[in-house]
Amino acid sequence: MSAVAFLAGRGGWRPDFWTLVAVAAWAILIVLLLIPLGLVLVSSVRDESGELTLANWQRLFTSARYFNALVNTLIVGFGGLAGALLLGSVMAFCMARIQIAGGRFVSIMAILALVSPPFIGAYSWIVLFGSGGIVRQTLMGWGIFMPPIYGLWGILIVFAFKFYPYVYLLTSGALANVNRSLEEAAENLGLTPFQRVMKISFPLVLPALSAGGLLALIHAIADFGTPRLLGRGFNVLATEAYTAYSAEIGSNLGMATTLSLVLILMSMIFVFIQRYMSRRNVYHSNLINRPEKIRLRGFASVAAHAAVYFIALGGAMPAIIAAIYSVRKTNGPVFQPGFGLESYSRIIATLGDVVRNSLLFSGASVLLIVVIGTLIGCLVARRNTAHSSLLDATLMVPYVMPGIVVGVAFIAAFNTPPLVMTGTAAIIILSVFIRRLPYAVRSSAAALRQVGPSVEEAAISLGYSPVQAFLKVTIPLILPGIVAGAMLSFVTAVNELSSSLVLYVGGTITMPVKIYIAINDGDYGTAASLSTILLVLSGSAIYLAFRLLGRDERALL
C-alpha cells in the first residue's frame, strides 16, 4: 500500500532499507530471544545428568504445591485485572471528559504509581497496613479493628493500585480521541447518555481498554515481589519459580524453567485472546472533532475529584512513603526518631558506582529500544505481509516473558562460547533491551496506525522519496508517541529488577538490585533513599517529556 510496500514490491530484489531492517530484526530476535529460550525449554525437559525427562512437567500437575500456585496465579491475575480495570477506567473517564483541578498533578501521580521501584512498593504497604503498620495501629488505638494487609486480599489491593495506570493511560488517550461527532450523532439518534457510552464510546475505546487490562493481567501474574512480601504462605508461580531457582540448597533449575514456561504460556494465551477481541475494532480517527471536557458542579464535581484523588494518591502512596522514610534519621540500618540525611550521605560515600551503573545501562538500552523499536514498529504497522505478522507474533514472546526467565536464559546462552557475555554490562543492557523492545514496537506501530498511510502517500505524490516522506511527515506525527515510549522505557529500564538480579555481578550491580539486597538485609534507610533517587530520575524523565512536547498527559500515549 504505502511507501514501504512499494519498496518491497517492484524493482526486483534490491535490498532496500526496510528489507535490511527486517533482516536485522530477525537476527536480533534469533540471537537474543529464540536461542536462549530454546535452551530454557531444553533445560525443563532434562534432569541433572542431562537425560531427557518429563518429571518436571509431571510434578507440576501432581504436586499440590505447584498446582495451588497455578490456581493462585490465575486468581491474582484476574483479581488484579478487575481492580486495575475498575480504578483505571473511572480515572480515565474522569480525566478525559471532566475538568479536574490539578489534572497534571494527578497524571504525575499515576505515573509515580507505575514507576514505584519493585519491592519498596509492597514494603510501603506493610509500613502502613501490616500487623505493625502505622495506619492499622492508629485505627486499633481508636478501637477499630482492621485485618493486616497480608494474604490474597492484600495482594489484590496492591495490584489494583499498582497496575491501574496501564488501563488509565491507554484508555484516557483513546477516550480523548473519540471523534465527538460520533457521540453527537448517537445523541442525535436518540440514545440516552448511558446508551451512548455503552454503544459508541465503549466499543471505540475497547481496544485501548483491553490492551491496558492485558498489561495489568500480565504484570499481575508475573509479579513476584508483591506476593513474596505480602503473601505469607499464598504462593504463585512466580514466587515458586524464584524459590526453585534461588534455593541455596537443592536449587532446581529444571523446575524453575518449567514453572516459567507455564507463566509464559499463560500470558501468551491472554495476549491472543485480547488481540482477538480487539481485532474487529481498529479505526482511524481523522482528528476533526475532539471531545471537550465538561465542567461539573456541586456534588458531582466533589465526587469526581474525590474518586480521582483517592486513586491517584493510593497509587502513589508507596513512592511517597519511600520518600519520607529516606529522610528519617538512621543509625546504621536502624531508624531513629527524627529526620536526617544519613541515608543519602551513605549512598554518596559508598554507592556512587551503583547509581552510575543504573544510569549508564538504562541510557544505553533506551537508545537501542527507541531506534530499533521504532523501525520494527513501522515495519509491522505498514507491511501487511505474512512475514510482518510472524515478526509481530514473535515479539509477543519477550512481551510476556518474566524477567527471571530472561535472566536464566541469558545465563544459559551466553556463559559459553561462541558468545560469552556473563558478568558484563552488555548482558544487562541487552536483557533490558529485549524485554522492553515489544513495548516500543507496539507503541510506535499503534501511533503509526493512527496516522493512516494516506498522509505519507500525499507527501510522496508531492515528490518526497519514501524515506523523506517518512522523516518529514510520519516521524513528526508519531514523535509524541516515540518520546513518550522512550521515557516509559527509561523508567522501566532504570527500575528493572528481576533479570538483573540473575545477571548481576559485583561490578554491574544496579540500584534496584541494591534495593532488593538492602531490604533483605533490613537496611530500609538505604532502600528508601535509593528508591527515592530512582523516583526522582523517573519523575524527571517524564517531566522532561512533557516539557519537550509541550503537551498534556496524552502525549505519553
Partner: protein
C-alpha cells in the same frame, strides 16, 4: 460559452497517459477488471461511476500507491510502473484529504514546492496565489485540526495544484463543499488546469458536474469501463443501458409499448424525459398516447411530470413551462414523442442502432 468545448473529441487520438488492461484484485474481489483508456495532454478526463466501482483504486494505481495485478501504464511515452511514486510528478487530491495535521495551512500547500527546491520567495508567492484560489487566504496560519471538512478538502486541492504536476488526479475533490463553492471551485480548477495545460483525471459521483467540466467522461461499473466519450456522447448516445440510466434520468419501456413496432434484437426502448411533450388534447397521431398524472412539480425553469401510461411510469420534463401551467394529479393528459429520439437496447443492455424505426 466555453471555448475548450471546441476541442472536444480532438483529444481522443493523442495519448499522453495510456492505461492498458489494468487489473486489480483484492483477494477475491476484483476492483479493476481490464481497464484501458488514454488521456491526452491538456485534457480534462472524468471518471464517473457508482460507489465501489473502482475509481479510487484506478487513481491510486496510476499514482503508484497500489500495485496493479496486471496491466501497463505509460505517461508521455515512459513506463510509469517502473518509476517510483515520488518521481512520477503526479499530483493527487485524496478522497480522505490526507492533510498533514502537524503543518499549518500554508505549510501544507508549500510542502510539495519545498521538495522541488524552489526559492523561498517564489514559494510564498505561489502559496498565496493557490490559497486565494481556493478561498483560504485568511486561514493560512491555522492548523488543520481547527478547520472544517470542506476547508481541509480545499487545502488538498491547493496542495496538489500548486506544484503544477504532469498529471493531476482528483478523487472527489469537491464532495464536501456547498453548491455555490462547488461551482466556483470547479471553474477555477478547470481554468488552472487549462492554463498550465496539464492532463487531469477527475473522479466524481455528480453526473451534472461531470457533464459540465469534462472534455471526456469515462463511465465505470464494477471495475469495467462502460463507455468513454464526450459529455454529448455519454448523454445523447449512451453505449449501454447502464450509462443511459446512470447519467441523467431515462424512461425505459417494453418493446411493444406505445404502438412501437417489434424490432428484432430490441429488448427495451429508452427515452429522455425532455423528449416527451405535452400534446394537444384530443390529438391522436400514432406516437401520441394518453396518461394519468401522478405528480406535477413546478421548478420555475422547468416542470416535471410523472405520468402513468400503459403500465409504465414515465417522467416528462417540460422546458420553460408557462406561468399558468398547473396540472393537478389524477388528470388525464396527452403526451407525444418523436421516434427519432428513442434509443434501443438489446437483452444484454447494449445499444442497438435502429434507423429503421424512425
Amino acid at each position: 460559452m466555453r471555448n475548450w468545448a471546441r476541442g472536444r473529441g480532438f483529444f481522443a487520438g493523442m495519448a499522453y497517459l495510456n492505461v492498458e488492461g489494468a487489473i486489480k484484485h483484492y483477494g477475491a474481489t476484483t476492483a479493476l477488471n481490464g481497464v484501458s483508456f488514454t488521456v491526452a495532454k491538456g485534457e480534462f478526463f472524468t471518471l464517473l461511476g457508482p460507489s465501489g466501482c473502482g475509481k479510487t483504486t484506478l487513481l491510486r494505481s496510476i499514482a503508484g500507491f497500489s500495485q496493479l495485478s496486471a496491466g501497463r501504464v505509460t505517461l508521455d511515452g515512459t513506463d510509469l510502473l517502473a518509476v517510483p511514486p515520488h518521481k512520477r510528478d503526479i499530483g493527487m487530491v485524496f478522497q480522505d484529504y490526507a492533510i498533514f495535521p502537524h503543518l499549518t495551512v500554508a505549510d501544507n500547500v508549500a510542502f510539495g514546492l519545498k521538495a522541488r527546491k524552489i526559492a523561498a520567495s517564489e514559494i510564498s508567492d505561489r502559496v498565496a496565489e493557490a490559497l486565494a484560489t481556493v478561498r483560504l487566504s485568511a486561514l493560512s496560519e491555522r492548523l488543520p485540526a481547527a478547520l472544517s471538512g470542506g476547508q481541509q478538502q480545499r487545502i488538498g486541492i491547493a496542495r496538489a495544484m500548486v506544484v503544477k504536476p504532469r498529471l493531476l488526479l482528483m478523487d472527489e475533490p469537491l464532495s464536501n463543499l456547498d453548491a455555490k463553492l462547488r461551482l466556483d471551485l470547479r471553474d477555477e480548477i478547470r481554468d488552472i488546469q487549462r492554463t498550465i495545460g496539464i492532463a487531469a483525471i477527475y473522479v466524481t459521483h455528480d453526473q451534472e458536474e461531470a457533464l459540465a467540466i469534462s472534455d471526456r467522461i469515462c463511465v465505470m461499473d464494477s471495475g469495467s469501463i462502460e463507455q468513454i466519450g464526450t459529455p454529448q456522447q455519454i448523454y445523447g448516445q449512451p453505449a449501454t443501458r447502464f450509462v443511459a440510466s446512470f447519467v441523467g434520468t431515462m424512461n425505459l419501456f417494453a418493446p411493444a409499448a406505445f404502438g412501437l413496432p417489434d424490432v428484432p434484437g430490441v429488448a427495451q426502448w429508452a427515452l429522455r424525459p425532455e423528449r416527451l411533450r405535452l400534446a394537444e388534447a384530443g390529438a391522436s397521431d400514432d406516437s401520441s398516447f394518453a396518461g394519468l398524472v401522478e405528480h406535477f412539480t413546478y421548478l420555475g425553469r422547468e416542470a416535471h411530470l410523472t405520468v402513468q401510461a400503459q403500465g409504465h411510469r414515465l417522467v416528462a420534463q417540460i422546458a420553460a413551462p408557462p406561468a399558468d401551467l398547473a396540472i393537478e394529479a389524477g388528470r388525464e393528459i396527452q403526451l407525444s414523442f418523436d421516434r427519432a429520439d428513442l434509443q434501443a437496447f438489446d437483452a444484454a443492455g447494449r445499444r442497438v442502432r435502429t434507423e429503421r424505426v424512425a
